[in-house]
């Protein structure tokens, strides 16, 4: 080894310089709203560059498209597929691409789960109608070839979506398309992105909107919706979600989402809760009826808030990345059933009046909440010591006197949700059946629980 003679003060000076560089370096995090949020058709510049594997994915899709449409009027994407994609691969955003590829906000009501007739996607008349509409209204930004490479697009803060991206188009279900075309840039997240996408619902009728959606699918070499299974390989969004998960979540939830990470056992060695096993599909914190899987919003909410005492909050990472995590976690869950998961309806809250609290007290007694939570909500009811979760682990009843420890949230609507959905896998049942037709009483009970708080 060399006999190094540099004195410590020089070492310190060198390191201080590094420190100053560090302190003076502007944050690299995505600071613009466009970079922080999931997007719709528009893609932030940093999201445009396709990954290498996506380039590889394209050949079979192009072939598939050609076979599928050889008897029909060939759409632009099919006719010039490979040539156009090569050109896209050379775009100027390569250096900015950082893996925040594609992700969608959940479709809100009333657009959620709306479906066009199956014949829409292949009806030549519909497609022709859609082409006409597209040429008239959409091509100016999205381009005649659907690749979003137009002079008008160059001036937009948020570039228009490249409709030729097969895998990304596959990720967007029909209701998402319809929502985005109908509402354009008016919904919250897209407004924040400075999206230039107009809301078309006042200009185009419903049929015209569906027709143009059907036509736009042709740019990706498909007719109508296609599935991610037709596009093997992960998107960069999934890769990014995977990275986030492996950095922060895998220690408790395990690499395969089974809740068996290396730190998991020590969180719940001899008593509940153990970290969630996503593969079971059983979730405590839901807005859906007992036994149902959670909505995306439920997962997102838990990631954002954390669980007091047990899971850190990830509220300080970007919305986009929380959604990426949400979608990544969903990959571990059992395949959803054919029916859409619907959250319970929450009535408008009742004011916390003395009368309401008194009614809540009666309900608290009638529903025998006290057997676990105790008369004063200290979690010391007569059954509290014997409670066990679905795994047979001892579990404590929530201390209603300390709302800050409520795992499912302390807000009135959180308490309402907990009462109505229960906490699957725990002794806390759903009271949806008990309060059927008298949901107003639930708010009385919520008000009583709030009254028990000593915080």
């Amino acid at each position: 080894m060399p006999r190094f003679q540099m004195p410590l003060n020089r070492w310190l000076g060198l390191l201080a310089a590094l420190f100053l560089i560090s302190a003076g370096t502007p944050p690299l995090r995505a600071d613009t709203p466009a970079e922080r949020r999931p997007h719709g058709h528009e893609q932030p510049a940093m999201m445009q560059q396709p990954a290498a594997h996506e380039e590889k994915d394209k050949a079979p899709h192009g072939e598939e498209g050609e076979k599928g449409h050889k008897e029909e009027a060939a759409p632009p994407a099919v006719r010039e597929g490979e040539q156009k994609r090569d050109a896209h691969g050379e775009d100027g955003h390569a250096k900015e691409s950082r893996g925040l590829e594609h992700l969608h906000f959940p479709v809100p009501p009333p657009y959620r789960k709306v479906q066009p007739p199956d014949s829409l996607w292949t009806d030549p008349q519909v497609l022709a109608r859609g082409e006409k509409t597209y040429t008239q209204f959409c091509a100016v930004c999205h381009g005649v070839k659907g690749d979003g490479r137009t002079p008008a697009a160059a001036a937009l803060a948020l570039p228009p979506a490249d409709l030729t991206q097969s895998r990304e188009i596959a990720e967007m279900p029909p209701d998402f398309w319809f929502w985005r075309v109908s509402e354009g840039n008016t919904p919250g997240p897209y407004k924040a992105f400075n999206s230039a996408m107009p809301p078309w619902k006042s200009i185009l009728g419903e049929e015209d909107r569906w027709a143009v959606i059907a036509y736009m699918h042709l740019f990706s070499g498909h007719r109508g919706p296609h599935t991610l299974r037709q596009h093997p390989g992960a998107t960069q969004a999934e890769n990014h979600g995977s990275m986030l998960y492996n950095m922060a979540c895998t220690w408790c939830h395990g690499k395969a989402g089974k809740g068996d990470g290396p730190a998991a056992f020590f969180v719940g060695a001899y008593s509940a809760p153990r970290p969630r096993d996503f593969t079971r599909g059983e979730f405590k914190f839901r807005s859906t009826p007992s036994g149902e899987p959670p909505t995306d919003d439920d997962l997102y909410r838990t990631i954002t808030r954390g669980i007091p005492g047990y899971m850190p909050s990830f509220a300080t990472i970007s919305d986009l990345e929380r959604w990426m995590l949400t979608l990544y976690i969903k990959r571990f869950m059992p395949a959803p059933g054919p029916e859409a998961v619907q959250p319970i309806k929450v009535l408008a809250p009742l004011a916390m009046t003395e009368e309401s609290v008194k009614k809540g007290l009666l309900l608290y007694q009638q529903a025998e909440c006290w057997t676990c939570h105790g008369f004063l909500g200290e979690g010391d009811g007569p059954s509290a010591a014997t409670l066990k979760d679905a795994d047979g682990l001892p579990i404590t009843a929530a201390k209603l006197s300390r709302p800050s420890t409520f795992k499912n949230g302390r807000l009135p609507e959180d308490i309402y949700r907990t009462l109505m959905t229960g906490l699957s896998g725990t002794p806390m049942p759903s009271y949806a059946d008990a309060f059927e037709g008298q949901q107003e009483d639930v708010w009385h009970l919520v008000n009583y629980v709030r009254w028990l708080s000593t915080e």
């Binding site: 080894m1 006999r3 190094f4 003679q5 540099m6 004195p7 410590l8 070492w11 310190l12 390191l15 590094l18 420190f19 560089i21 560090s22 302190a23 370096t25 944050p27 690299l28 995090r29 995505a30 940093m46 950082r98 893996g99 925040l100 990014h240 990275m243 986030l244 492996n246 950095m247 922060a248 895998t250 220690w251 408790c252 395990g254 690499k255 395969a256 089974k258 068996d260 990470g261 290396p262 730190a263 998991a264 056992f265 020590f266 969180v267 060695a269 001899y270 008593s271 954390g306 007091p308 005492g309 047990y310 899971m311 850190p312 909050s313 990830f314 300080t316 990472i317 970007s318 990345e321």
Partner: protein
């Protein structure tokens, strides 16, 4: 097992007291309503201790990740936390308690039996009182300072050993800086901590860092068996009438292992069981670490003034070290990692004088190599380290060389078993193949004694009244007993202690 003496056996004398004390304090803990206060990190993030610890002070894998990544929950931002107050370019928690923690650690009572002399027992106040100051002024910078008041620090004054109270910087006091951003700004391929920049990928290599720790650092902090995170805590030396009766009881793998050496910048002896070199729990230097290939590989390298040099740069040469750690199989409630390190100490200690070994002589170069491993599966936490040391023969006085064993090694193996949420059982085996001045040198009066081998077995039960408050009852048995050396002079000992973190 040795037979108890009917008279003068401190274990028998204080045994009943120990048991009663233990039961009394356990009862207090059992019936005490758990307090809200928890140490700073847990307080700040509203998490239980077991989120990061198997049981304090051992870290579980999530806790290690938290530690590696600037004391931050992975992927998150400290600057964006709403509970923070902006102070110019930095921000701090509004609650002071989120920056402070307090630890009381040590024996409340202990008794030791010695070979060929009467035993010693005492009821005492815990040896260590520590205050931790921790903050993340920005996402890229963390500050960690440990202030320590040690009641029984071994001092060597005018040829005599004394146990004295010491207050000052503790085992660690450093800045941790995430260098990813400045290095990336210089065009170097780095991986940014967290994911907000989406920059954790570079050429398909995932990871994070590099992180720089500068100040008083523990180089072993990311090793499979970190020196400072002992469930069976180190015990101070035993001194009577300025004579060293018993060496400190520490994991032998970490110790100096050589008998007759002196610290580089002082005339103090460097005892064979004092953690040193890579295992120094606080020496002035700079440590770089980071991850590559996701979480598979941890790399580490650093430079130090020299082992045991906390505030000076006396030897004018630097020590260097490098280490790698491989983490495998992180699922099915299990983890396994294996670590290796090499430490090149230059002029890092002083050899004894050939003419008078009771006084320090010339500076020596000292090399240390180690292997460590850790397997955690469900209730079980197994870890150990084997450390091999070699002193450059050429640095030793010619006349001393025939009488000085310039190699030594130590092995420490520990198993912790979580019996319930409140009980943790531990078993530790230590073996020391000592080096240094041999009897053939004819030396006498060498502080710390002449070369000896040692082995000991320890068993401990820790009772966690809360996750941050525990009592331990420990028994330590010396497998190598010889009254000639302070390493082997004791037969066995028992102790009751407390580890309290707020």
């Amino acid at each position: 097992m040795p037979k108890y003496q009917t008279q003068g056996n401190p274990l028998r004398r204080c045994g009943a007291t120990l048991v009663m004390l233990f039961l009394a304090v356990a009862a207090v803990g059992w019936f005490t309503t758990p307090a809200m206060a928890i140490p700073a990190w847990a307080r700040k993030h509203n998490l239980q201790c077991s989120t990061c610890h198997t049981r304090p002070p051992r870290l579980n894998r999530f806790g290690e990740q938290f530690h590696e990544m600037n004391f931050m929950i992975p992927n998150t931002s400290e600057e964006k936390r709403p509970e923070r107050q902006q102070l110019g370019p930095v921000s701090l928690e509004q609650q002071l308690g989120n920056h402070l923690a307090f630890r009381v650690l040590g024996n409340l009572a202990q008794g030791f039996e010695f070979k060929g002399r009467s035993g010693r027992s005492e009821i005492s106040f815990p040896n260590e009182l520590e205050i931790f100051i921790a903050a993340n002024p920005t996402d890229d910078i963390a500050v960690f300072v440990e202030l320590e008041n040690e009641l029984k620090e071994l001092e060597f004054n005018a040829g005599e050993f004394e146990l004295e109270q010491h207050f000052g910087l503790g085992h660690e006091a450093f800045l941790m800086i995430n260098l990813a951003k400045p290095l990336r700004r210089l065009g170097l391929p780095t991986m940014v901590h967290g994911a907000e920049a989406g920059g954790m990928v570079h050429s398909s290599i995932l990871g994070h860092g590099p992180m720089l720790m500068i100040g008083l650092v523990d180089p072993s902090t990311n090793f499979s068996f970190p020196t400072a995170r002992q469930v069976m805590t180190s015990l101070p030396a035993d001194v009577e009438n300025e004579e060293l009766l018993r060496l400190p009881i520490t994991p032998y793998a970490f110790g100096g292992k050589f008998f007759g050496l002196y610290k580089a910048n002082e005339n103090d002896p460097l005892l064979a069981t004092t953690p040193t070199l890579y295992n120094t729990a606080g020496a002035l230097g700079a440590d770089f670490h980071g991850r590559l290939f996701g979480n598979l590989l941890l790399y580490q390298f650093g430079v130090m003034n020299g082992a045991n040099e906390r505030s000076s740069d006396a030897n004018e040469k630097k020590d260097y070290y490098a280490g790698l750690r491989l983490d495998l199989g992180e699922s099915n409630f299990a983890r396994f990692n294996i670590s290796g390190f090499a430490y090149w100490g230059n002029d890092t200690a002083r050899a004894p004088r050939a003419s008078d070994p009771s006084r320090p002589g010339r500076l020596i170069d000292w090399r240390r190599y180690g292997l460590g491993a850790n397997l955690t599966w469900r209730w079980l936490d197994l870890y150990g380290a084997y450390v091999w040391d070699k002193i450059n023969d050429e640095d030793l006085p010619v006349l001393l060389r025939p009488h000085f064993d310039n190699t030594a090694s130590g092995l420490t193996l520990e198993a912790d078993f979580l019996l319930s949420n409140k009980w943790l059982a531990s078993l530790r085996y230590d073996s020391l193949d000592g080096g240094g001045l041999m009897e053939s040198s004819g030396a006498t009066g060498v502080p710390g004694g002449l070369r000896a081998n040692g082995a000991m077995l320890g068993a401990q039960a820790r009772y966690y009244m809360r996750q941050n408050v525990s009592l331990y009852l420990r028994y330590q048995y010396n497998l190598e007993q010889d009254e000639e050396s302070p390493l082997t002079s004791w037969v066995h000992g028992a102790m009751l202690g407390i580890d309290l973190d707020f």
